[in-house]
Every structure is written in C-alpha cells, then in structure tokens.
Chain length 377, copies 2
Amino acid sequence: MAVRYELIKTCAQTGARLGRLHTPHGVIDTPTFMPVGTQATVKGMAPEELKELGAQIILSNTYHLFVRPGHELIREAGGLHGFMNWDRPILTDSGGFQVFSLAENRKITEEGVTFRSHLNGDKLFLSPEVATHVQNALGSDIMMAFDECPPYPAEYDYVKRSTERTSRWAERCLKAHERPHDQALFGIVQGGMFPELRRQSAADLTSLDFPGYAMGGLSVGEPKALMYEMLEETVPFLPAGKPRYLMGVGSPDALVEGSMRGIDMFDCVLPTRIARNGTVMTSQGRLVVRHAKYIRDFSPLDPECGCYACRHYSRAYIRHLIKADEMFGLRLTTIHNLHFLVELMRQVREAIREDRLRDFRNEFFEKYGMEGNESGF
Amino acid sequence: MAVRYELIKTCAQTGARLGRLHTPHGVIDTPTFMPVGTQATVKGMAPEELKELGAQIILSNTYHLFVRPGHELIREAGGLHGFMNWDRPILTDSGGFQVFSLAENRKITEEGVTFRSHLNGDKLFLSPEVATHVQNALGSDIMMAFDECPPYPAEYDYVKRSTERTSRWAERCLKAHERPHDQALFGIVQGGMFPELRRQSAADLTSLDFPGYAMGGLSVGEPKALMYEMLEETVPFLPAGKPRYLMGVGSPDALVEGSMRGIDMFDCVLPTRIARNGTVMTSQGRLVVRHAKYIRDFSPLDPECGCYACRHYSRAYIRHLIKADEMFGLRLTTIHNLHFLVELMRQVREAIREDRLRDFRNEFFEKYGMEGNESGF
C-alpha cells in the first residue's frame, strides 16, 4: 500500500479529523496545506527553505511537466524527487484542470483531450492512460485520476455527462496504473454544484476503492458558501478510512472551514502568487507591503510570526526589494505566506486534538477579519 | 582605526600578497573577491547563502541606495548591515562611477555632479561631501572617495584635469568624513591609461594617508594587457602596509593576474550577471547551461565543484528552471558562480602561502582556457 491514512481522532465540536498520511517519502500530519511547485520548483524556494517553514508535502503539475521538460526526462533524472532534490512526499495532479483552463484549442472526446500547448502551440494528447503513465514516470507519492472539471456556472445536463465521464475515466486510470505498490492514485469527485451529481460521483468512485479521494471542480468561481455546501453534501459519503483532498483551496478562511467539514488536504497557488505581488497574510489580516505607508516601517511583516522573513527583515526592507524588482523580496514574502498557512494548519490540528476547532475558527476569523470574505483571500 | 591591513607574506614567485583585513564587522582573508549587492541585496541571495559559499565581504552601491530607498531611511534602519541583515563587512562605492555611466544629463563642476536619476528623472546632486555623508549614513566598513572616472579611450589633457580633480575631491572626502573611527575611507587612484598620471595620482593620494587605496578607471573597455600594465605602473607606488583594491574586476583570469600584481581586493557584477543569463564558470571554462545540449545532462554544473548547486542539482534541472523562467534556476547559477570565484581566491591565497602563484596561474589558465581572453570572461 503506497499510502495509508491513519485517523487519530475527530473533533467533538466539528467534523474535522486529525490524522497521519503515511507515504513512501514520509508521514504527513493532516489536515495539511501543500505548497504548489508547478514546474518542479515552488517558485523562488529551495527545498531546505520549504522544510524549514514546515512543509511536509508539495504538489506539482502534470500538465506543465508533460509540456516541459517532459516526463521521460524526469524519469531518467530519477523521478521528480531526484530531479528537484525534494525527498519528502509529492502529489501530482492529473493535468485535467489545466487542459481545461490553460491549453488552447482543446477538443474533448471519450478517449481523451487533444489540445495545443500554451507554450508553443504543439498538438498534444492527454487521456486517463496518458496522464497515469506520465505520473508513473514522475514517481509522485500521490497521483490524481484524469478528470473533466466543468466550469462554473454550468448546466445540469452538461455536468451530468461530464461527471459520468469522469467516473469512466477514473476506472481507466486505475487500470492503467503501473506502480500501485509505491504510488497511490486518488479519485476525484466531480458533480459541479449539484448535490445529487456529487453524491453519484462519490458513489461511483468509492465503488472503485481508491486509496484517497479529492473534491474537484470547487473553488472555480462559485460563492464560498456554495462550496461549503457541496462539501457537506459529499464528504459524508466518502469512507472515513481514506484521506480527503480539497483541490485548489488555500485562503486561510477556507482552510479552516474545509477542515471543519472533514477535509484532510489542501493546495493552492494563492499564498505564493500573492507573495510575488507583494501581498502577505498576517495574524491581523492581509497586508500589501508594497504600499507607500510601509516605506519607513521597520517592524516585521507580522509581529506574531516566527518565520525566517519575520525574524530578520523589516517591512521597509521587503518593500524596498519589491519596488526595486529584487528577487529576494519575493523569496521573503513567499516564505512568509507559506509559513503562515503551514502554521495555521498546525494550529488547526492542535484545535482538533483539543476538541475546540469551532472556537478556534471564531477567534481566528474575528482577528483575521475574514468573515464573509468572498474574494478568495 | 576602522580598518587594519595585516600583511602575512609576499609570494616568492610573484608580487602577490597574502594578508588579512581587520574591520569592525570581522576579518577578511586577502586577496579576496567581493560579491556585489547593488540595491542592498546580492541579487537572489540570502545572507546565509553568501556565508555558506564563503563570502567574507560584500559591496553595495551608494548611487543606487541614494536614489532608492535613500540613505536616511537606511540610517534609521540601523545602517546597511541592519537593513539587509548582513553582519559581515560591507564596502560601499562612492557613486562616482555610476553617475558617470548610469545617470542622465549629468553636469560636472568642481563642486560636484548634478544629474538626473535613472529611475524617475529626479534632479540630484553628488559631491565629495554628499557621497561621504551618504556612506556615513549607510555605515559601511569601507567607504570610497568620490572620484571622476574617465572613459576609455580619453585624451591626455582631459584625463589630467580629471585626475587632478579626483585628488582635490579625495581631500574634501577626508575632511567631510564623520566616522573615521569605525568606517575606513579609501582613496581611488585614477589617471586613465597614462602611467605618468597614474603615478601622480598615487602620489597625491598617498600623501593624504588613506587607510586603503583603490585602482579606479580600469576594466572600462581597455585591453586586459593595458590594465595589467597600469597596475604594474602604479601598485609599486602604494604603501605596502595598506590594502589595494582593483575596482570592477571579476573575470577569473583577471583575479589571478591582479593578485600577482599585488592587488588584495576585487569586485564585479560579472559572476552574478552572467549567472542570471544562464552562464556559469567551471573548472573547465565557461558553460552556457541554457544550451540545448544540456537538456538530458544529469551531471552537476562543474563535477569538481562542491557548492550547494553542484552537490544537489543537475545541468538538466537547472536548464529546465532557466528555460521555464523559474527564479530558483538563477539562484543556483548565482550560488555556483560566486562560489567559483570565492574558491578561486582561496586557491590563490593557498598558492601565495606556498610561493607558487605563477605555477598556479599557468595550470589554471591551461585548464580554464582563459589565456589571451579579452572578452572580460
């Protein structure tokens, strides 16, 4: 068994679970946030920095690596772990989401998706079999099934056909999987914003007995309340002994809300993307360190934070670096934001352990000012 | 005394000196190469990385910091050391070279230079007094006198007038210096490519008894042989008990040749600039890791190198990062190139200690293939 989920306890105040995910490259404490390393690197970060800030697992994108530098090259390099010098667990997505959002001129058939590379227009093909083969070459600890991710909003009939196809594709992925002994393939529950389709998708996938399940097609533009409702409609139908992963979610409020609804794993480019724009998450809410008001502010990004950036550098210095287009500024804001989310998840786990995640949520939201925030951050 | 030079020994084969430079922020083994941190950061590097690769001192640029974020802000931040979290020695240049090469619409008078900022066109003024005041605010261990750097080629009469002015300005810098107890102000020998003017400049400056002397106005486009000739014409007229700094020189061959002629300190943006373009210095000569031939090359940048990049990453990975515009690629090539020069200087010091620098030079050039290289690299 490539991956084994160990449920330690459930929070008495919420549906949150404290657990451990055992993988060939180490153990992950859950609920967890996974930094995104799209092109075999978490933008600007060295592996040692990710470890220092507490990251236990990272995500990388199959679509991007398939397009460049190619999965066979990475296989020759000893897989993604060897290629990028990361010896902790890696999760790869299937490329499904990207071919639907990034690629040009995509054409979907039952067989798979033909598309043109966003880099050079090359005609490429991804299918359940190809996406699985590529991830086998990458050697990730956790692979994702190749799915179709409907946009939001979408019509019931379209979502129904798409979700049924995702179930058929999931079965093909399982059959194509060459390394079940050391790579775990997760299924992805789709169903758009239709509880009935979500439940059907969950039933289809759980009947295939995947070692883990993701919630896909959420955080695609719908109101957060609707996303939470979809979680509530679906999570109860997933087996308690398997990990649950909410894809593409990384705002502090949604990490807490998702955990409360029984989610164990999250990923998102949000913390790293806004960092490169000079925006950081702090215990007092978000802070745009580029702003002129921080020009002579010699305090750290977040006085309550213990990350490398906050221990050694001021807002004034980081603002200077960003205004001067200096890479090191983006390193510091990236370190800070990733540390913020990793530390938030540590606090969430602690609150679950002590049966007080609802209290934690209320205190956190009051301080952070996130209540009702629909902006995604 | 802010800075004290300790001459350990002179090479029996060459004019090279092994020494130690004692400063308020620590001791520097000389000859040494100083990485350049123009805007209060060595591009892409954390201070810890610079220390790991062996950097004992860095250089920062007065002109850039004067223009942005301003020296008073840096003074408030606890000086450049506190602002950028670097607790080892810092040398700042005077801004002289930059106002002559970077600034727009500069107008030179005996009083100083009026110019427009290259960032926003603001009208600014630098003079011996202002440049000294700014460096006092920055708090560097070693400051440079405000000089005029003639272009190459230049007429004798122009260079003569310019060199005489540099001598008068040097005296004004000394008078304006507010912190001689903890900051050492070095004079800059000019004189273009005219031995007579170089000697006159050296005589003028040594009569003012600076704690150290720089060779300015070299590596400005002249053939390297001419630069070496100028060193030979000037260095003998500098006091043996003071450090000698060759400004703007950082190609491996010139570091060795300069050391052989009695130079103790060097700086250059070359290693960091070419790194960001995907070019690295190796024991076998230069290597453009961007090139397609390295796409499946899983060996390190330099098999003989022990830097962080070479210990953990392949040419194939670094090439992928650079092709994909990933910051981490530039970090790795920058680390490698700085390590290469720092390690080269360690070997130079070892060769001086063992009275075999000429032998070392010949072996190094044969392997590196630099003999007669006029490209600056």
